[in-house]
């Protein structure tokens, strides 16, 4: 797993005046499920297309299996892509679609037939050989697209928001399907999505991107629990992000009140951002809380209640299984382990942008 | 590298598409009247364009026709798109298939179908018939643009409007219509362009007095298109070109994208605005002319370039009749129009044998000589000759006459030309222009073989046909009036032509000579006749009388250089050389070996026509 299968070195790409990728370095290990996550326009799809060979970078190198493939056309690369809108060949049957790459590679007829059978079985669509591509539902088409790619036994499968066009239920089913496929095939997946839940569910590694930069790279747990900056925190799940001051090691002043935390080394009286997940905010009797506030909104969300608490001029998002009616005065406490301290962004570019979801 | 190849390829295709347009634009600034012969820069044609009533008239007709046809077609297409969309699948496909017929069928078949419909129902062709035809062939193009928009439209939008309290009419005008507007606009533009560029269907369905630019150009192609036409086309083209350039050249990409929705609209609006401005100016121009003494209309049908345009203006001024002047190229073509009642004219100028045929088929009205006092100016020998085809001079008054002969270029032909045989000489292969009309072509062959040019003997005709087929490889082209330009341009060395043309050609190119071969030839007379169905015989008689006025006949002679039977006019010719020209006024020695064409009867015509088609389709290589 430590082998760098794909290594992107100093990739930059711009369209006209728009800089899409700026000196990007990224490596993908063998047999990894790596997800590029970010809002639209962050450069994730461009990165994928550069790996696939559909775009060439303005500068930088793409190393695949220790070979420089930067200038290799897509048909010479041992990787296959699953496109968002399936891109099936509508003038061919399912079998012809799946056989396409194999026929180009001049495989024998029996080999091709076996592969078709195998691939259709793998994606749970046995017996669909002679259907036309556009007679299938979206989910089925996407499975065919996967089957069409994997019969070529690529070392890497590139998936460009493959579930984006499917409805919610189907999307969830397909997520498990993809994990199963990945495990059965034992190949590397590079997955592009803007859906953080999808990324958290499936990935070994998540790369959060924004404005052409990598914001954070790590396991789903790391990304969720220890976001490195406000952008990541905001993008992954719901959070309370509050501008605060680090008084000294292990003490942070949030909205005028001192909270205990576990972080050190930020220096004294340093401005920082603090991230507190809504499920980590505990509501207690007013006098017990570090700060006090008033419940202003309440919604029942099934597994829990979601409340808004106004305290010291900030609207706290709180999730709890306990109902606290609107108008109740409450106190707020947070476990020191659940306070995530982040440096303020240094440059304009790194600053979180307004998200579109 | 590949990028450059692509650029070069695209450049070549665009050059191919625009090369003829460049030629036309350049020609509009060319001093010479002849296309492809540069003779210095001039802007005269642009000035003359606005004084050329017939071109301005044609422009007006074209634009009004295109505007009306495209508006009606777009309206019908919109109605159709909306209702077709709600039809059952099977009904819809039937309706769509029928709609598309005019687009998929051959234009000539569609045109013929319309002509047969109108002729068959006894409706004479007029503006309405050509409008109906245009609307019908524009509909599929309108539908093609509108229907996809209707199909794309979310039906819930209309329902949402109703839900929000709009009446169904309000919902239609405020929601449905704006939604499909881009389709309607492009449908309109497409229809407008198609109607504007149409020739074939207009050619078959237009009524008398209705000339569009296309039909006008087609008649002019024969004698060389008037350079004013190039000027007009250049103006039209440049206007559209500049408009499109402005629309497409919005500098900022982002601005452009924002404006996209608007841009489409403004593009259509601009184009429409331009059309309307053009029409208004054309109409304004036409109505600006003084017509205070207007008393009626007269529809004249004459050979191409067979009159001095000034004469028409003078006639209008003097009599108060508005002249609708149109041209034909062959007697046969004219006959079809008249015999089928396709178009009505008041006064026509056919040739001798055709006059005989028209008398025979009872198409002509006898003349009232009381209304033609100027008949005294026509030489008695010509009146006498005319009795050959019009016994008693009851139906026709001679207008021009002449012979058929050979025109040759003395710099290219060294030998003396006095026989038709030179037209069959392989030495001159590729340099010979033959006449494209049946009778004249057979006149050459039959005269050469020593037979009568009115023969009905099948053996003789077969022999003549074989001779003409054997001549085909030597012939550069079969033409009628185009002989003139081609000879002047030195494109050919030898041609068969009417004496009247020869004088004009000599003026333009002194190397040309005209001769009536020793074997004999045809002498012909064209005369004015009044068709039976003329609606204004009084005006027609006034026209004929006017043509017999010596000064008018002289004006015509000077302009068209065809021999006039008007003795009084001939005496007025100033140029002594011309007055005594053997070409214009050949002596007895020439005339005695020439024969007049007779009407050969329906079977005779069919016989000639059948043989002539054989010549036409025989392989030339």
């Amino acid at each position: 797993m430590d082998n760098k299968l794909i290594d992107l070195q100093g990739i930059s790409k711009s369209y006209g005046k728009n800089l899409i990728l700026n000196n990007l370095d990224l490596y993908i290990k063998e047999n990894e499920f790596l997800t590029l996550l970010g809002p639209s326009g962050c450069g994730k799809t461009t990165t994928l297309r550069i790996i696939g060979g559909f775009e060439s970078p303005d500068s930088g190198k793409v190393i695949f299996d220790n070979q420089d493939i930067t200038d290799l056309p897509p048909n010479k690369r041992h990787l296959n892509t699953i496109f968002q809108k399936y891109a099936l060949f509508t003038h061919m049957t399912i079998a012809e679609n799946i056989a396409f790459g194999l026929k180009i590679a001049k495989k024998s007829k029996t080999y091709i037939d076996d592969k078709i059978k195998y691939a259709l079985k793998l994606v749970n669509l046995d017996g669909f050989e002679n259907r036309m591509a556009d007679s299938l539902s979206g989910g089925q088409q996407q499975r065919i697209a996967i089957a069409r790619a994997i019969v070529n036994e690529p070392k890497v499968l590139l998936l460009d928001e493959p579930l984006g066009a499917l409805d919610l239920k189907l999307r969830q089913d397909m997520q498990y399907e993809l994990i199963r496929l990945k495990n059965e095939l034992g190949i590397t997946f590079i997955y592009v999505t803007h859906d953080q839940e999808e990324a958290l569910t499936m990935s070994d590694t998540i790369v959060v991107m924004n404005q052409g930069y990598i914001q954070q790279m790590g396991t789903p747990e790391m990304i969720y629990n220890e976001p490195e900056n406000a952008f990541v925190a905001d993008f992954i799940g719901d959070s309370n992000i509050i501008a605060s001051t680090m008084i000294e090691d292990e003490v942070v002043e949030i909205l005028g009140a001192k909270f205990k935390c576990v972080d050190k080394g930020f220096g004294n009286n340093t401005p920082v951002d603090v991230v507190i997940r809504p499920e980590d905010v505990e509501l207690v009797e007013p006098q017990m809380g570090t700060i006090q506030g008033l419940v202003t909104h309440l919604i029942f969300k099934g597994v829990h209640y979601e409340m808004e608490v106004e305290a010291n001029g900030f609207k706290w998002l709180v999730q709890s299984t306990k109902l606290v009616p609107v108008g109740t005065r409450v106190g707020i406490v947070v476990d020191p382990f659940n306070i995530q301290i982040m440096n303020k962004p240094e440059s304009e570019d790194e600053e979180a942008v307004t998200l579109d979801e | 590298m590949i990028k450059h190849l692509k650029r070069i390829y695209m450049g070549l295709v665009i050059l191919f598409l625009y090369l003829p347009i460049i030629v036309l634009v350049v020609s509009s600034f060319n001093n010479s009247k002849i296309l492809g012969k540069w003779d210095g820069f001039t802007l005269d044609w642009y000035k003359e364009l606005f004084n050329n009533a017939s071109i301005m008239n044609a422009l007006k007709t074209t634009l009004i026709l295109a505007l009306m046809a495209s508006v009606i077609a777009t309206a019908l297409g919109t109605l159709a798109s909306l209702t077709i969309n709600k039809m059952k699948r099977s009904t819809r496909s039937v309706v769509m298939s029928i709609t598309n017929i005019p687009m998929l069928n051959a234009e000539i078949v569609t045109a013929l179908a319309f002509m047969l419909l109108f002729v068959g129902l006894g409706i004479s062709l007029n503006f309405a018939t050509v409008l109906i035809a245009h609307v019908t062939f524009c509909i599929p193009y309108a539908l093609l643009n509108i229907y996809p928009k209707v199909r794309q439209m979310d039906n819930n939008m209309y329902e949402a409007a109703l839900d929000l309290g709009a009446s169904s009419a309000q919902a239609f005008f405020k929601v449905t219509l704006p939604e499909i507007m881009p389709g309607i606009m492009s449908g309109f533009l497409m229809s407008f362009t198609m109607s504007l560029d149409d020739f074939i269907i207009t050619h078959f369905t237009r009524g008398s007095g209705i000339d569009t630019l296309s039909t006008k150009i087609y008649t002019e192609v024969r004698k060389g298109i008037k350079p004013e036409m190039y000027a007009l086309s250049t103006l039209l083209f440049v206007t559209v070109f500049v408009l499109l350039l402005l629309i497409n050249r919005t500098p900022n990409e982002e601005k452009r994208r924002k404006k996209l929705a608007k841009g489409k609209k403004s593009h259509a609006t601009l184009a429409m605005g331009m059309c309307i401005v053009l029409i208004i100016s054309a109409v304004g121009y036409i109505s600006f002319r003084d017509d205070s003494n207007y008393i009626g209309d007269v529809y004249v049908y004459n050979w191409g370039e067979y009159i001095d345009p000034e004469v028409i203006a003078l006639f209008e001024e003097e009599t108060g009749y508005k002249v609708h002047y149109e041209e034909f190229e062959t007697n046969e073509e004219m006959y079809t129009i008249i015999a089928n009642g396709a178009r009505n004219y008041d006064v026509i100028c056919p040739s001798d044998y055709m006059i005989e045929k028209m008398i025979d088929t009872d198409l002509l009205a006898p003349l009232d000589y009381n209304a033609i006092p100027n008949i005294k100016n026509i030489g008695s020998e010509y009146m006498e000759s005319a009795t050959g085809f019009d016994p008693g001079n009851r139906y026709s008054v001679p207008y021009c006459w002449g012979t058929v002969g050979i025109c040759y270029n003395t710099t290219m032909i060294d030998e003396e030309v006095n026989s038709w045989s030179i037209l069959f000489d392989e030495k001159y292969s590729g340099s010979i222009l033959m006449q494209a009309s049946v009778r004249d072509a057979y006149c050459v062959a039959l005269s050469y073989l020593g037979y009568s040019i009115n023969t009905l003997d099948e053996m003789q005709l077969k022999e003549a046909t074989n001779l003409l087929i054997s001549q085909k490889p030597l012939v550069q082209a079969y033409v009628i009036d185009q002989v003139r330009d081609k000879m002047i341009k030195n494109t050919a060395a030898l041609s068969v032509i009417y004496s009247g043309e020869a004088i004009y050609m000599q003026e333009e190119n002194p190397d040309l000579e005209y001769v009536v071969p020793d074997e004999g030839s045809n002498v012909w007379i064209d005369g004015w006749v009044i068709p039976k169905n003329s609606e204004n015989k009084e005006a027609a008689l006034a026209w004929i009388n006017f043509m017999c006025d010596p000064n008018i006949a002289l004006m015509n002679f000077n302009e068209i250089t065809y021999s006039t039977p008007n003795i009084a006019a001939r005496d007025l010719i100033e140029d002594e050389y011309i007055r005594n020209s053997q070409i214009a006024f050949p002596g007895e020695s020439v005339l005695s070996r020439c024969e007049v064409y007779n009407y050969l009867g329906k079977d005779g015509d069919a016989l000639y026509d059948g043989y002539w088609t054989k010549v036409g389709t025989a392989a030339s290589e």
Binding site: A87 | L76, L104, Y147, V240, G616
Partner: protein, 286 residues
């Protein structure tokens, strides 16, 4: 039939009336004239006259020239449409107009200009003479007629193909490349099959007018080459409407054959495929 359907039927009335009266009935008149003689008696002579060598030859010549010019149009138009497909959107509208724009110069004039270009001692000859080359000598030959047809009808081939090509998703082409096909394999196996609809309507739009033209052969053929269109026109001019109608019916047989064959290529003519000016559909994309 419910109220809405009734209203729809009522509204579609004027249109149905129009197309029946001015599309169906005129065609019936062609049939009537084609199967009768001048006196209204039934006859097969008009139809059968196509067997006469003079008509038969004209038909064969027309078919040959129409097939040649259609093929040339296709060969010129397809690469062009491919190039246009890859052009940036900002230029796309403009390029479409490049092909519509010439229509604003009357087509008779444009064809006539070709006569001036190709004529003996014409523009082309003068150009060739500048380089000491002999004259081209193609005026009044079948080559000149084919050139005229290609010139006049090329846009009708380019536009439908272009319209289909721009609708092919980039990723469909990328997918083929991704699966190992090189450019020409992609072209042959994916792009061309997906553009059959455009090709077939292009063929119809070029073949039919080429087969039936009389103007082009008139102006560029010097009257030496009679096409079937010329014959029909001459018959009408010579007041033989019945024969003209009869030969038109023969022409229609070939038009229908051409349509059936072209449509076989594609499952059916996609209505949008023939749509030459619907630019809006693509502009919204990325």
């Amino acid at each position: 039939m419910n109220k809405a359907q009734k209203r729809n039927a009522l509204l579609s009335g004027p249109y149905i009336f129009w197309i029946v009266l001015f599309i169906i009935i005129p065609l019936l008149f062609v049939f009537y004239y084609g199967f009768t003689d001048g006196n209204g008696h039934f006859t097969m002579d008009n139809i059968l006259s196509i067997a006469k060598p003079e008509y038969y030859k004209a038909l064969v010549l027309s078919l040959v020239l129409a097939v040649i010019s259609t093929l040339i149009c296709l060969l010129i138009a397809y690469p062009l449409a491919l190039i246009l497909r890859n052009t940036k959107i900002s230029k796309k509208n403009f390029i479409i107009f490049v092909f519509i724009l010439p229509m604003w110069m009357n087509f008779l004039l444009r064809t006539y200009a070709w006569q001036a270009i190709l004529d003996i001692n014409g523009v082309l000859d003068s150009f060739l003479a500048m380089f000491g080359l002999p004259s081209a000598n193609i005026i009044n030959t079948p080559a000149a007629i084919v050139l005229g047809m290609v010139y006049d009808f090329l846009p009708f081939m380019v536009l439908p193909i272009h319209n289909v090509l721009v609708k092919i998703d980039d990723n469909t082409i990328n997918a083929a490349r991704d699966l190992g096909a090189n450019y020409f394999q992609t072209l042959r196996k994916v792009i061309i099959p997906l553009s059959y609809a455009g090709i077939s309507s292009g063929i119809i739009m070029v073949f039919v007018p080429s087969l039936t033209t009389f103007v082009i052969s008139d102006i560029l053929g010097g009257g030496k080459l009679l096409l079937i269109g010329n014959i029909v026109e001459n018959k009408v001019k010579a007041d033989n409407l019945n024969l003209g109608a009869g030969l038109s019916l023969i022409l229609m047989i070939f038009i229908v054959i051409n349509m059936v064959v072209s449509m076989k290529m594609d499952s059916g003519i996609e209505e949008d495929a023939m749509l030459p000016t619907d630019k809006s559909s693509k502009v919204g994309g990325k």
